[in-house]
């Protein structure tokens, strides 16, 4: 799992290859590290984790700005705190 800074206020997290609960756990822990307004691009290839992350973001008030399938089996989420 790689967590990188792309530019000021923008980060990316790659959790492909991992299964529950690690993708949702690390995504939310990374979100906790960010400040309000910052964005995180997440790559997940575990469908149930995408559902959990979406629900957790709704619960915490994080905005999912974009959701895409860059390739089969992989979901890219852009989340703003």
């Amino acid at each position: 799992m790689k967590f990188n800074k792309l530019e000021d206020g923008k980060y990316e997290l790659d959790v492909t290859g991992y299964v529950c609960p690690h993708p949702q756990l690390y995504t939310l822990k990374c979100m906790e590290k960010l400040e309000d307004g910052m964005e995180l691009d997440v790559l997940i290839d575990n469908p149930s984790s995408v559902e959990s992350v979406t629900q957790a973001c709704n619960g915490k008030g994080y905005a999912i700005l974009e959701k895409a399938n860059p390739k089969a089996g992989v979901t890219a989420l852009k989340i703003q705190k």
């Binding site: 529950c20 959990s52 619960g59």
Partner: protein, 495 residues
């Protein structure tokens, strides 16, 4: 362009999976018409697989995500599905009283649930969740399934009879079901109840009332505080206060809105839960009907070619001595079928025992003695996997999930790529296997099914599951925090 080609390739594979199941069904049927019984198991599994993959339906997620990331969607889904199954079930057992099953209540349920709960969180999925995830191409889940299969088989062949003598036999409360408690008949195995009596006892009390109390608990402890905080801010903003400073008072209406937001949070999980409950009920009904039609009470009798003459069929009539021409000509003998001419044939949605039988069958064929115990020897036998009814359900479930994930472009091969991933999968699967056998069932067989049948034993297993999941969740959370302890905003963590 490449994306479009990949997409159409996935669709072709999906059609291939569907065609494979259809061709297999035809081959079974023309081999012997009675095999429509195991074909039915397979197709119900296929539908469960589609629904589970669509709803991301996994019991590990219900507990783990609730504890670790405060997401109640799957917990809500389980309760919704349970209520639906229980309504259908109340009708079925009023028509087929023989299908009214009451599990024993005892320490084994709590301990089994605890061990199973610890295992399922480490494994990344419950028993049935691991099946559907295998269908998504997730070979980590397949490793979990294999660990589940072989750990159960070894435990049953070596330690279970000892455990049962010391911790189960003579140490359980038997025949205690909610309908019996409310309307009398505890200890009377022939007692029959109307649909309305089952609906009150099994559904309203054991499923709806307990389920509602649990949902209220989840709302109060997980959802309420953040929801009301956001709600108060929204009300203040609407009233003209500044977005960052103002808050307003919330009332009972807001509490109800919060509760509803929790129930309706995941549309796909709720839809899947409702349909799974209905399909699980339809499965019980269909299989009971087929048993009546084909003159057997357990599929082992078909394999052995020996009707259980005089045994009560689900509709109350007796098994006739005539061997129907629809049965196959081949006659399986012990240990393919048990001493009692039975194989594992639960007649409803069940998950772990059939994997144990697969593990036992493999071990037997490489030379281990597997039948000198009550589990394989007296009850479940060790049939060929392709004639093991419930295993066909598991295979159908994997294929159904593969079909659905391929059509949704969510299928992806995924293999364990580190020692830690192997450890989580094998360790978690092994704990689930041992827990399932100690608890006499998994999240489906010891919880979901019995809870719908009005069995208080299900809630004992549930408490164990919750405690076990909490222990694993705490460990994984601690591990994650330690890995991320550095102030550095960049990290590269390998599990």
């Amino acid at each position: 362009m490449a994306d479009a080609i990949a997409s159409s390739r996935h669709k072709i594979y999906a059609i291939g999976v569907l065609g494979f199941v259809a061709i297999l069904s035809v081959l079974y049927y023309f081999s012997a018409p009675v095999y429509i019984y195991i074909i039915a198991y397979m197709w119900f599994g296929f539908i469960f697989g589609i629904l589970q993959q669509y709803g991301r339906f996994c019991f590990a997620s219900a507990f783990r995500d609730l504890i670790m990331v405060k997401v109640p969607r799957m917990f809500v889904g389980i309760i919704i599905g349970l209520i639906m199954l229980s309504i259908v079930n109340s009708y079925i057992v009023s028509v087929y009283p023989d299908k009214y099953i009451i599990e024993s209540i005892g320490f084994h349920g709590l301990l089994g649930g605890l061990i199973f709960g610890i295992g399922m969180v480490f494994a990344g999925g419950c028993a049935t969740g691991s099946l559907y995830k295998t269908g998504e191409g997730n070979m980590i889940s397949f490793a979990v399934l294999m660990s589940l299969a072989f750990s159960q088989a070894i435990f049953q062949a070596t330690a279970f009879d000892w455990f049962s003598r010391h911790f189960i036999q003579g140490k359980t409360l038997n025949d205690v079901g909610l309908t019996k408690l409310l309307f009398g008949g505890i200890g009377n195995h022939a007692a029959k109840y109307s649909f309305w009596q089952h609906l009150v006892g099994d559904t309203l009390v054991n499923a709806v009332l307990v389920g509602l109390l649990l949902l209220i608990g989840v709302y109060i402890f997980v959802v309420r505080k953040p929801f009301l905080k956001r709600r108060a801010r929204q009300i203040a903003v609407t009233a003209g206060a500044t977005a960052d400073g103002g808050t307003a008072k919330t009332g009972f209406k807001d509490e109800l809105a919060g509760f509803w937001s929790m129930i309706s949070a995941s549309r796909r999980t709720s839809i899947a839960a409702i349909l799974i409950g209905i399909v699980a009920g339809a499965q019980i009904f269909s299989l009971a009907w087929l048993q009546n039609h084909y003159n057997f009470t357990n599929f082992g009798q078909v394999l052995a070619g020996k009707p259980a003459v005089g045994a009560p069929l689900p509709n109350g009539s007796k098994v006739s001595p005539t061997v129907p021409s629809s049965w196959p000509g081949t006659h399986a003998a012990y240990p393919d079928v048990s001493h009692n001419n039975t194989v594992f044939d639960p007649g409803y949605w069940y998950i772990t025992t059939q994997e144990a039988m697969f593990g036992g069958w493999v071990l037997r064929h490489i030379g281990f003695s597997m039948s000198n115990n009550s589990y394989f020897g007296m009850d479940n036998g060790l049939p060929n996997p392709w004639l093991s009814p419930a295993l066909l359900l598991s295979i159908g479930l994997i294929l159904g999930a593969a079909f659905k994930s391929l059509t949704a472009r969510e299928f992806k091969w995924k293999f364990p790529h580190s020692k830690a991933q192997w450890a989580y999968a094998v360790g978690g699967g092994t704990l689930m296997g041992i827990g399932a056998r100690i608890g006499l069932g998994c999240n489906i067989g010891a919880f979901y099914g019995p809870a719908a049948f009005g069995n208080p034993s299900a809630w004992v297993f549930f408490v164990g599951l919750f405690l076990g999941a909490a222990i694993s969740a705490r460990y994984i959370n601690f591990f994650a925090n330690r890995k991320m302890a550095s102030d550095d905003m960049d990290f590269d963590i390998k599990l």
